[in-house]
Symmetry: D2
Subunit: 372 residues, 4 copies
């Protein structure tokens, strides 16, 4: 039996780099060799035991790679050696939910999220991709792994926050929290045509990135409640759309209070407790407000569209990639990311590289890419 | 100064029939003579002191009448003597909110609701109608006051619950509470093309009306938690759309739990406290669910459309009119309605009639109409 | 090699009942035994040589049947012996078009339409169903083959005309031509909540069915141009939505002229020549009108939803089934249907029956169903 | 009687600068002093006699100015001396069409377009604004007349082409013709989040502006049929959305052929003859394509939103203002504009200035603004 290196969840608080069986594709499946992946806040939740997955599972859900082997039924659609990404969410396209347009809920609640949740994930040398026909998205020529690495999850999620908010050209938008998802929601608000975009966070350096990514105004919560200024900037009304990108009661409530009558609160956060909507923030239930929750959209078409935005230079997300690590260095990478040290935004992981990109670059070796 | 008879709010718990000044229309305004109106649950809240309005205000927001006098700027559009209804909500059509499509929030939060809230209302012999060009809706020939009496508020509101839920043909829908608004939401679900409609209430007689109005299945909450049966009827998934039509935490939470991943909770209730969304009912915030709140749509076009549904025999709401009263009998009418006695659903009030319709009919006088 | 009986296209103007190979399902495919099917206007076009298909092809695209054999990958989803229908359109759910929501254009222009077009169709004892996971729709208990026989194509198509027209509750709608598709569009307009529905045709008996199916007003084109009356009924404006259900320049132009500024022409017709939109009917291109074309939606969820409408008694289409034939009698059936003789609307074909339903019923044998 | 200078339509082919009566505002109306306006292609059509207006009418529909006098009912909403723009389209917000969301068709077909069409227009020292409460849009502090001069018509129209096309983030878009409207449609496609934008025109200098405004690819029709390259750039499918911005059969047909199955043709052109949709370009009427026509959206909220886009630096349209003229120089300005000489895109007209901006600037006088 062939094996591969993978980061395995060992129970609450522990992961380990281990040799596990290399996957074989059945009909309709593919195996890709991972060339790059990254760490998501959800992975941190899982490792902390706040979201339950089975011990023994390979984690990670943001794959960039090369097709290694194809199962039956994919002839003429893909070729071995082709560079691809796969969304964090891998819908089948054929079930009740998918055929009703709820692809991320494929097969049932949260069911489209399989990698590193219900099946082995991307923190490994190889990854088995289910429903490959619906999920393998070729990388356009000329784009690097780094260019597209954030498409599988946070670009898709952040943009979806703007899309679910049904932002119209000229809308005012407030984005609560400017972590990687919030920054991508800020990008999404810009891409959907918002006029005024207000970025809110407690970390000055993240607000600086927010301004580069499209926020006209940034508010630091350490300077006090952002609501009075949001109201002032919108003639006392509140914004047309608020996006919650943290997953806490406090930001949920702030975001709700920031929304004008008739406006929309688009919620991206993963909540670990109940949500409370105060009577007055909801205008007693008759303010014509909407609250929309969204799980990251996936599928190959979503990925193709996101990469087309990058290819056509509508957006460049590489400034979010602040640190690089080899897969072997996962614990160090997790420590840095989970504790938001050193200005970290997103961490790139290279499963097939001995050393990290930055180190190699410092040594004059050049960018790690597919070749490594 | 000319005077008229009107029901005046005298402070918490008290109303009185008094003589007040008869209104005069300014430019763009009209005065109508009220021939019929009704009592809404919101009126009960106001009288109980649960929703604040100024003492001295004439209550009521569901006017049916005849044009008595027209202010300037309405020449060629309307004529004195024309039978009209006016929505409970009277948008101006020209402000930030109206031009952004949030007509019910005209001018600011809940601002479209003026009658019996911020200006004198319909429980009177005469009513001043602001922005008359946008709000006077002629009654089609052949329709009685009773036919159209529920258009100004509960038909518009109930249907809006189905519309905000974006019900698609073939959707499964659960409607929580089958009071007048909930019954109209049930009608709305049918008019929008729902397949399975589940009506829920604690009163058997209301469930019986629900079945006449389009519910295929009714569940009595006195028989236990309706959720298991809702899940069973939807292959374990939950409904595509749930409509909350009561305004309590309990029904809000049940409705949220009844909604499948990717589905919509359309909330019509007026809440007097905070709303709590449990973590699991929200699928941790990533179930692609929507929560939409709605205030009754108004304006003459809304009214025209609703009356066209009645005129073309798509719906008949007269079974909801269970009792008739003269305006002088307001206290008796309120007592009956507020305490849901005697199978009451909606109470018709006739400001210009000495006796009520049913009494007159019993006396062989025939239906009260415009002429009385 | 096993064989089966099937109706084969023999080139322009000719079909023949022949023995052909019985299909075997590959991975992801199923074979169903056809218990009932029907003839569509498109089949007539094909046989007349007006729409090109390859000689030797088995025709027909409206299958009702029983699962005979399942290919790999369908375990746990379906069982042999299960009663199912399959849409005329069989999307894969996994390609560019499906993942962009254009399921009927699966794989490319008109690509979702495979049965009797690019692969063998339903006028046979057995039918191979591609992408079975996305397309096999179990028939609800209690519904007969006749109840659901029109779901695969004309109910789906007619309703889609109303859906693409984005009919809102209270809209006025005109449906041009009341053949089977137009009658289902009339049903669709009612299911979407239209107020006034105007049915237009040149055959009085079809207009009579239109009134039963929801038209308030019917206009016979033999009595003259319907436009003046349409304008009169809509205060001179034209309807909110017009549906074209014939496929001719004349009805297209009438429908366009019937649409008010800001309204929608929803076109269902299959056109065999260019379409001309006169300058004035288009308001010089600045009347905010929309023209939407639609191909029948398919897939198992669409079928489930349509059958749910029938199961919940929102609609009964069996009045459209005017004649029954055995598959052997295909030429007689085609002759009747193509020439619109004898009040024919839709013809049921029973591939596994020696004699037709009506004949058997006359003989006291009872309805042909799955058992035959 | 006070008089003012205005450009009057004298019948086919002729305009004249004349003294006419200065307007007085009635209830709900306002008079603004025009500080800047511009010439639209529609004005050229009118002067050429291709679109009928009454001789004696003051032309022009793109007003920038200062409130001179307010009629009744506007107290507290506006003040004399306030800088404002008004849309080319001035909806009332209160009629059938406005309340149904078709504001540009206010009162009837094309009825929202009043300035220089059915009432006196903006090529004058003063302009009477009807329904002022719905139409006066204050200019944000810090923006010049030049910054906002294109909001009343071409920015609103071009963006509406993208909006009506329902462009989604990641869509591919082709814009046929890159005159001022087409360039604004290109801007609109970018603001709505298109990935690939293809600009098409026959003039190289306009294509150069298109690239600055957001087109990734430009195709010069003098180099041959653009369709093969459009297909090549979209994997053979065609674009998701094509925008027609010229108003000719040739570009309409090209745009239709450029649209993939399931895609949308958004038409902005004003057509002076019938439109022909070839059978194959329409996929026989079953390609799930949409054709949407759009008239410029107006109203104060539309104007506020467009100016907010400029204020927040999402777009800068001043590069389109290539030439300046005093109102007295209207014939010279029309000659230049109508014949597309000298690289002209849009011409600014200054009714209250003796000389044009560029001339004054050359003389060291500084930008003409409100003060002049």
């Amino acid at each position: 039996m062939k094996t591969m290196k993978a980061v395995v969840f060992k129970g609450k608080g522990r992961v380990a780099v281990e040799e596990v069986a290399k996957p074989k594709p059945a009909h309709g499946e593919a195996v890709i060799r991972i060339t790059a992946t990254t760490i998501c806040g959800t992975d941190v939740h899982i490792i902390r035991g706040e979201y339950p997955v089975a011990p023994g599972l390979v984690l990670g859900h943001e794959p960039v790679g090369v097709i290694e082997e194809l199962g039956g039924g994919l002839e003429g659609l893909y070729t071995v050696g082709q560079r691809v990404i796969v969304g964090a969410i891998t819908p089948c396209g054929q079930c009740f939910y998918c055929l009703n347009g709820s692809h991320s809920q494929c097969g049932g609640a949260l069911g489209g999220w399989r990698f590193g949740n219900t099946i082995n994930g991307a923190w490994a040398e190889y990854l088995l991709v289910p429903d490959a026909r619906a999920n393998l998205a070729p990388i356009p020529t000329g784009l690097t792994d780094q260019d597209v690495m954030l498409c599988p999850d946070i670009f898709s999620t952040g943009l979806a926050g703007a899309e679910s908010g049904q932002i119209r050209v000229g809308d005012s938008v407030a984005v609560f929290a400017q972590g990687p998802i919030g920054l991508c929601a800020t990008v999404g608000a810009r891409l959907k045509g918002a006029s005024l975009i207000i970025g809110i966070d407690s970390m000055g350096e993240r607000l600086e990135v927010a301004r580069r990514f499209g926020a006209n105004v940034t508010l630091n919560t350490q300077d006090g409640d952002p609501l009075p200024e949001i109201k002032r900037l919108t003639d006392g009304r509140g914004v047309d759309v608020a996006i919650e990108a943290l997953g806490r009661q406090e930001t949920f409530e702030q975001a709700l209070r920031a929304v004008r009558p008739g406006g929309t609160l688009s919620s991206l956060g993963v909540y670990s407790g109940k949500l409370v909507a105060p009577y007055d923030a909801l205008y007693a239930g008759i303010g014509d407000q909407k609250i929309v929750t969204t799980l990251c959209p996936g599928g190959k078409e979503r990925m193709r569209r996101l990469m087309a935005m990058i290819e056509n230079r509508r957006v460049d997300l590489t400034p979010l990639l602040t640190h690089d690590f080899a897969l072997d260095d996962i614990e160090e990478a997790l420590d840095l990311f989970a504790n938001q040290r050193d200005g970290v935004l997103k961490v790139a992981l290279y499963p097939n590289a001995v050393h990290s990109r930055r180190l190699l670059e410092a040594a004059g070796v050049g960018a790690i890419d597919d070749q490594c």
